[in-house]
Amino acid sequence: MSNFEYALAPESTAILNIAPQYGLFIGGKFVDSKSQQFFSTINPATEKVISQISLATEADVDFAVASARTAYNKVWSKLSAAERGKYLFRIARILQERAREFAVLETLDNGKPIRESRDVDVPLSAAHFFYHAGWADKLSHAGFGSDPKPHGVVAQIIPWNFPLLMLAWKVAPALATGNTVVLKPAETTPMTALLFAEVCQQAGLPDGVVNIVTGDGSTGALLVNHPDVDKIAFTGSTSVGKAIARAVSGTKKSLTLELGGKAANIVFDDAPIDETVEGIVNGIFFNQGHVCCAGSRLLVQENVSDQILEKLKHRMSQIRVGDPMDKNTDLGAINSSEQLARINELANSGDAEGAERWSPACELPTTGFWYPPTIFTGVTQAHRIAREEIFGPVLSVLTFRTPQEAIEKANNTPYGLSAGVWSDKGSRILWASQRLRAGVIWANTFNKFDPASPFGGYKESGWGREGGRHGLAAYVKGGK
């Protein structure tokens, strides 16, 4: 052996106990869907079917909302805040105890590398429950008045890119503030939500406080339009977010949205170069680029762009693409054939519009959905790949000459979720942070998340924040 070829280090799936089919989790129990319709969820790395998932239709959604309403009226709203918090602590602990199982299942269903589900998704999910558990009996100190009230029944619709983590971001604050929940996981990634249902059972959470209805967009629409839902929280695409906002606009329902982005990652010429290259890689290739806040537009100061690109290409050639279950994999599978088609379509537009494509030589598996790490250089603000969210491992590289120009280009988008700034100069970092029109600014880092840190966007990237004290506002009456 001349090269240091790491041998396969696959995480075992033996730990999982997957049923051939799943019902809906309503009123504390798994129940058959009224329609008895099922759809398959597959492993995107192999295209093998994992299980058959129930498709919730109108009667099921009615049942779930009614069960949440009953739990709210009869149990949850009567429980003291301190006791409510204890249930969240229990959930957090069980998530930690079963962390490995959750990580393996997440990777199986989503296609993300086990290193990320193990080191990011699952521990952060547990952390979110811990964090919000402590808020439950301290809400009078959170800046929403002396006795903030919950909305009641909350409908939550989450995406496929961080299935368990988005569940935690939604469910933990909703429960901490005293709401009950009907959650709809994404069509392609329902598995960890169904496992979370078991956690609720193990935690002894009162029946109906959390209900999980699986399905597709039609299930989500039923939930959004349900008359007995008080509040809706959605994470997903801007187009679906707007459709929900329209549906809700004439009603009394409260709505928070966490939508798309096209984040600028700005590299100044004094940036710590090696860490910057790491940050660029982490910004766009973390989770296959299936990240709403991904640093998908690299803005490099022109006098260092050659050097940065050379180092970036060298670094990209070390990215290990392949079996998500392998502990050494850096870039896993694209979540679905639909998403792969969308990435292809947009990347091809980059070719057609004259940008220059580069990917390192890498062998992609023959089954499953894959896309190599890719950068486009010579991109201008007018290119589609500089404007539209690709949601894949594709980076558009643009250059700038002065700090002012960097800010102008960075802000020249209807989105405003996140941005990155790379510089060794503290004053310059804060100068840029102040001027970037985005809800989260990462300085000399990227794609960092924490339950204590509010997350959410300016402009068309959404309404409201998740996490931190500010995130609680979404789940109390009168909160902004």
Partner: protein, 311 residues
């Protein structure tokens, strides 16, 4: 010529090196530490690590007996298994060089280098004449590798030219008789920016290797420090066409740590550096742990310290 050796040219060059972000470097090193090395790769990595060990004894209590025993171990680390490679070098104080060289030659270890720590190791606090003599003695006694320390006091007080000139002088003594390893003592330089500057300073002055530490100061060869040094040799190669070696020393005590070092090398400087001529690990206790892991892989059950030699 990248620099002309003057204080101002050094200051200019080192001052223009890109900064290191501590948080970013720490997190990159931590991520690489999660690499999982299994089966055939692990076996290969253990043997490679053994061949990279600079088996070291640097104690006031060192005796000829102790050094001879160390040499025996260096040639044949596992007396029961001749397939175990020899280590890269034996590393001693300069008064032990002749004993080590003689012993190694006598037991078939002629290919194993004797490395001598010189220049008033570990503090480096001596006149240049003493440092010259210290080094000259070691070479005369048969050292083929010189592990010198830089003058950290001069570095920290901004006297970069003094540091540079000392390395140039010691390098000239080494000539083609010995390889020069320059110890930065990163635990005293503290910041990663300083580690990067000192790495370049040493390379520009003619170091064949840059080495983290004396082993007498903690922290020593932490993963992010080695990462920064590996980045430096990688980039210096781009600049000069010369591959400089890296030697972490101090704190690498078990197989897991050693393999993490190899992963750092593989993914930072690149696989070209994965050989004893470009990467060494300064250690004493590490070798036995590597041997025990090797036994575990061969036998399929865990070994005990009773089955590796204590010298």
């Amino acid at each position: 010529m990248i620099i002309d050796g003057s204080e101002s040219s050094l200051r200019h060059f080192l001052g223009n090196l890109p900064a290191v972000d501590q948080v970013g470097a720490d997190s990159r090193a931590a991520m690489l530490a999660t690499r999982s090395i299994k089966t055939a790769s692990k076996k290969w990595a253990i043997d490679l690590a053994i061949s990279m060990v600079d088996l070291t004894t640097l104690e006031g209590a060192d005796t000829p007996g102790k050094v001879k025993a160390l040499c025996t171990k260096a040639v044949r680390p596992d007396p029961m298994d001749s397939s175990v490679p020899s280590v890269g070098a034996v590393c001693v104080y300069n008064d032990m060089v002749k004993i080590a060289r003689t012993q190694l030659d006598a037991i078939g270890g002629g290919a194993i280098h004797v490395a001598a720590v010189t220049t008033a190791f570990p503090s480096g606090r001596a006149s240049i004449e003493v440092k010259r003599q210290d080094t000259q003695d070691a070479i005369n006694n048969g050292a083929t590798e010189i592990d010198m320390v830089i003058d950290r006091g001069a570095f920290l007080s901004g006297n970069l030219g003094k540091v540079f000139d000392e390395i140039v002088l010691i390098k000239s003594l080494c000539g083609d008789r010995a390889h020069l390893k320059v110890i930065l003592e990163t635990g005293e330089l503290v910041t990663y920016d300083n580690v990067r500057k000192a790495s370049y300073l040493a390379m520009l002055a003619g170091a064949d290797f840059i080495k983290t530490s004396t082993g007498k100061i903690a922290p020593a060869a932490t993963a992010p420090v080695v990462l920064v040094m590996l980045e430096a040799v990688r980039d210096f190669y781009q600049l000069s066409g010369r591959r400089i070696g890296v030697k972490p020393a101090g704190g690498i005590r078990n197989t897991k740590d050693a393999i993490k070092q190899l992963v750092l090398v593989n993914e930072t400087a690149g696989p070209e550096w994965l050989k004893p001529s470009l990467f060494r690990i300064g250690a004493s206790a590490l070798l036995n742990d590597l041997l025990m892991q090797r036994m575990k892989m061969r036998e399929g059950f865990y070994s005990s310290p009773n089955y590796v030699t204590l010298d």
